[in-house]
Symmetry: C2
């Protein structure tokens, strides 16, 4: 199955993503013209649209890589969580937030979020929703784990708590990327303060 055509296809995908990543960073999302991405990737404009439905989908591919990395890093925390509820949540959320600006600038996040609400049915829109869902599920898994260990009361509505925590974190993150001068440390502190209320409510 690994004919010439397959290899060329994979290669073009990679070249487009590499070119787009560099240009999005340098010139911003709007500033990165499709023409420039095409030129840098050494393909034609038409080819880009053969691989991605629109400009947003290119960004989408980059975002998906970032989020998947974060999900991976989170698995470790779910498997062996810190021995108290507040720290467990803070550690998991910390991983999400601290990794968030590794590959994506705030401007790229803003664009990605905007596109995902603007075109929820586009490939990217659906993928983004799935990623949010995966993060929610990971937080829910952590809550479930803490219930097993006996750190969280068994009679708590775990899925609802998980979604509540994710929604709050996500909204705080949205506001964070909207303000260029906002700092990660402040974001984490604010979320910790909010979660404190939940922690006392659900802790055994």
């Amino acid at each position: 199955m690994s004919g010439l055509r397959e290899r060329q296809k994979a290669d073009r995908h990679r070249r487009i993503i590499d070119a787009a990543t560099a240009l999005f960073r340098d010139a911003g999302y709007e500033g990165a013209k499709i023409e420039a991405i095409a030129a840098q990737a050494e393909v034609s404009i038409g080819t880009i649209y053969n691989y991605y439905q629109n400009k947003g989908d290119i960004l989408g591919a980059i975002v998906a890589m970032e989020v998947n990395e974060v999900l991976n890093a989170g698995r470790g925390v779910v498997a062996r969580p810190p021995a108290n509820v507040g720290d467990a949540l803070d550690t998991l959320i910390g991983i999400y937030i601290e990794h968030s600006l590794n590959y994506l600038s705030k401007e790229m996040w803003r664009q990605a979020m905007a596109i995902s609400t603007q075109l929820p049915d586009s490939p990217f829109g659906q993928a983004y929703t799935a990623l949010d869902r995966a993060l929610t599920d990971q937080i829910r898994a952590l809550i479930a784990r803490l219930q097993e260990i006996g750190l969280v009361r068994a009679d708590i509505d775990g899925p609802a708590v998980g979604e509540l925590i994710f929604n709050n974190m996500n909204m705080m993150f949205i506001e964070f990327v909207k303000r260029d001068e906002a700092m990660i440390s402040e974001l984490r502190a604010a979320i910790r303060r909010q979660n404190r209320i939940l922690v006392t409510a659900i802790g055994v």
Copy 2:
């Protein structure tokens, strides 16, 4: 100060907003061409750009009207809240949600939200952030009121709870407008379920 020019200006503003509201509804945001809005409002394209920086700002003006109406309706609840925490929150949030589709379609909300994250520093972006903040403050005011009445424990971090409730509601609302088939009743039920956890945590 109410010369002819002032009145004409106000009139043109109104005509543009009316035309845009109708066309956004009929043709969707993307489908409503500036040219068509200009024609229906009986002004030139240039005039529209003289009144609003861009297409998004026109939508922004409509959103602001809607949200201000909702804020107004919410004041009554804060002044005389239902006599238990869960109902109080549910009533206020119910007002927000039930009014939300009066003037704005889901598609218009999607566009408005997208633009506000995409261009947080545009007039509309800043206005939208201010509206979110006003809603947050109203929820906080309700919590404070409930603390006065003695329905919510005095040692609770009111501002943090208020923000947590708003963020969760807002995120749920975003997901709601992203799915055309999602229903208001389901949205409210889901939020109630999430808030139940907080209610037990903060109730006296």
